[in-house]
C-alpha cells in the first residue's frame, strides 16, 4: 500500500546541474518523468510556475511540490528515499560538512572560474583564469585523496554527494579536451582525479545519464558560433 508518487524532473540535456538529480534518482531507483526544457527557446509554463524566483532548471516536482537548486534536490532525494539505495551524503556530521564545503567550492569558485576563462576574449584574463582552474583541481585532488581513503569515489565504495557534484562537470572537461586540446584532466598533475573521472563515467548509475562526449563537443562548438555571431551583431 502506498500512494503513487508523482516525480517529475525539469532539465536540459546539456546542463551539468540537471545531470545531478538524474544520478541521485537512479541511485535510489526512483521512477520519474523527465521534461526537457527548450535550451534556447522560451521557458515552459510549468518551469515559470515552479521556479518563479529564478526560472531555472533543474526543478524536481514531487507530488506537486517543487524543489529547486541541483544540490538541494540531491539532498532532498537522499532524505526522502532514505530507505532505498546507498546514502548519498555521508552519515557523520563532519564528513557531511566536508562534502558540502567542497561542493560549494566547485560551484561557487572552481566552475565559475572555468566559465569566465572560457568566455573571455582577453588572453591575459584567460591565462589567469585557467591557472585558477588548474589550482582548484590540485586542491580537489588533495581533497579526494584525503576523503576517499583509497576507495574509488569521494563517497567511498559507491558514488556520493561530492562525486555527483564534481562528476557532473567531467563531460564538459572531456569535451573541451577534444574541442580545444585543453588537458585539464592531466594524469601527470592530478592522477587520482583522472582515475576517479573514468570510474565515475563508467559507473552504472552514471553511464546512460551523462550525455555522450561527442554530443557535448558538438554542442560546445555550436555555443561558440552563437556567441561569435552575437558579438558580430553588436
Amino acid at each position: 500500500m502506498g500512494e503513487t508518487e508523482e516525480v517529475r524532473l525539469l532539465g536540459v540535456w546539456f546542463s551539468p546541474y540537471a545531470i545531478r538529480p538524474k544520478i541521485a534518482l537512479r541511485l535510489k531507483s526512483v521512477d520519474y518523468d523527465y521534461v526537457e526544457e527548450d535550451l534556447f527557446g522560451s521557458k515552459s509554463e510549468l518551469l515559470l510556475k515552479s521556479n518563479p524566483v529564478h526560472n531555472k532548471v533543474p526543478v524536481l516536482i514531487h507530488n506537486n511540490k517543487p524543489i529547486l537548486e541541483s544540490l538541494n534536490i540531491v539532498e532532498y532525494i537522499d532524505e526522502t528515499w532514505n530507505a532505498s539505495g546507498p546514502s548519498i551524503l555521508p552519515s557523520h556530521p563532519h564528513d557531511r560538512a566536508q562534502a558540502r564545503f567542497w561542493s560549494a567550492f566547485v560551484d561557487d569558485k572552481w566552475f565559475p572560474a572555468l566559465k569566465a576563462a572560457a568566455i573571455t576574449k582577453s588572453e591575459e584574463a584567460k591565462e589567469k583564469g585557467m591557472k585558477e582552474v588548474e589550482g582548484g583541481l590540485l586542491q580537489l585532488e588533495e581533497a579526494f585523496v584525503s576523503i576517499s581513503k583509497g576507495n574509488p569515489f569521494f563517497g567511498g565504495e559507491a558514488i556520493g554527494f561530492m562525486d555527483i557534484c564534481l562528476g557532473s562537470f567531467v563531460g564538459i572537461l572531456k569535451a573541451r579536451e577534444k574541442l580545444k586540446g585543453e588537458k585539464l584532466l592531466d594524469e601527470s598533475k592530478i592522477p587520482f582525479l583522472c582515475k576517479w573521472a573514468n570510474e565515475f563515467l563508467s559507473d552504472d548509475t552514471v553511464k546512460n545519464v551523462v550525455p555522450e562526449i561527442d554530443k557535448v563537443v558538438e554542442f560546445l562548438g555550436e555555443l561558440e558560433v552563437r556567441a561569435q555571431s552575437a558579438v558580430s551583431k553588436t
Binding site: 514531487h62 532532498y76 560549494a104
Partner: protein, 230 residues
C-alpha cells in the same frame, strides 16, 4: 570514551561579521560551551590560514581538532551534532529543502545587494542596488508569511535555519538604513518582517551576541570609503 559532542569547541570569528553571528546563534541555541577567538585580521592570521587555507575566511568552527568552514555549513553541522537542543532545520525533507533554498538566496542575492549598496561608486549604481534589495525584502516578506504560518518565526515557534540566515543580516540592513535613509524593513511594506525582527533581536540565543548598531555604523564608516558613508 566521551561523546563526540563533548569534544572541545572553538570558534574563530570577527565581531562585525553576520556570518560569524549565525554560528554563534546556533551554538547558543544548542547551549554548546565554546571558546570564542576574535580574529581581527583574518587574512593575515596564522590560525585562519591553517584551518581554512582554501578561503582564508572566518567563521571557522574547530571541534576537537577538525575545522568546519562556511557559516551555513557550520550551522547545519551544529544542528546535526548537538541533538539535544531545539532543531534548527525542520524535520520534513521538503521543508528542509525550502529552508536551504532561502538561505542560499539570502547569501547570493540579499547579502550581495547589501554589499552592492555599500560599495556603489555612484548614485546610479546605488539606486540599482537599493532597488534589488527592496525586491529581496518583498520576497522574504512573502516567504515569512508562508513559512511562519501565523507563528513568530520562519522556523515556526522557535528560530530556525532561515531566521538565523536572514536575522544575521539585520545589523547590516540597519546600518544601510541609517546611511541611505531607506527603510528596508518597514511596518507598512514588510509588516511580518518588521515584527519578526523585534522578536529575533530579543531571542535569548541572539541578544547576547548581536553586535551593537552604533559600533557597526562606525565599523562601516571606516571600512567602506564610498560616498554614502561620508
Amino acid at each position: 570514551m566521551g561523546l563526540i559532542s563533548d569534544e572541545y569547541v572553538r570558534l574563530l570569528g570577527a565581531w562585525p561579521s553576520p556570518f560569524v553571528l549565525r554560528t554563534r546563534i546556533a551554538l547558543n541555541l544548542k547551549r554548546v560551551p565554546y571558546e570564542y577567538l576574535e580574529e581581527e585580521d583574518s587574512l593575515n592570521s596564522e590560525s585562519v590560514l591553517n584551518y581554512n587555507p582554501v578561503h582564508k575566511q572566518i567563521p571557522i568552527l574547530i571541534h576537537g581538532n577538525k575545522p568546519i568552514r562556511e557559516s551555513l555549513n557550520i550551522v547545519m553541522y551544529v544542528d546535526e551534532t548537538w541533538l539535544s537542543g531545539p532543531p534548527i532545520l525542520p524535520s520534513d525533507p521538503f521543508d528542509r529543502a525550502v529552508a536551504r533554498f532561502w538561505d542560499v538566496y539570502i547569501d547570493e542575492h540579499c547579502f550581495t545587494s547589501i554589499n552592492g549598496v555599500a560599495v556603489a561608486k555612484d548614485e546610479e549604481e546605488r539606486k540599482a542596488a537599493i532597488a534589488k534589495l527592496e525586491m529581496c525584502m518583498a520576497l522574504l516578506e512573502e516567504t515569512f508569511q508562508e513559512c511562519s504560518k501565523g507563528r513568530g518565526f520562519f522556523g515556526g515557534d522557535n528560530i530556525g535555519f532561515i531566521d538565523i540566515g536572514f536575522g544575521s543580516m539585520l545589523g547590516p540592513l540597519k546600518v544601510l538604513e541609517k546611511f541611505t535613509g531607506v527603510k528596508f524593513i518597514h511596518p507598512e511594506t514588510t509588516p511580518g518582517l518588521f515584527h519578526w525582527a523585534d522578536r529575533f533581536y530579543s531571542h535569548e540565543a541572539v541578544k547576547p551576541v548581536m553586535p551593537d548598531i552604533e559600533k557597526l555604523v562606525e565599523f562601516a564608516r571606516l571600512k567602506f570609503n564610498t560616498s554614502i558613508f561620508k
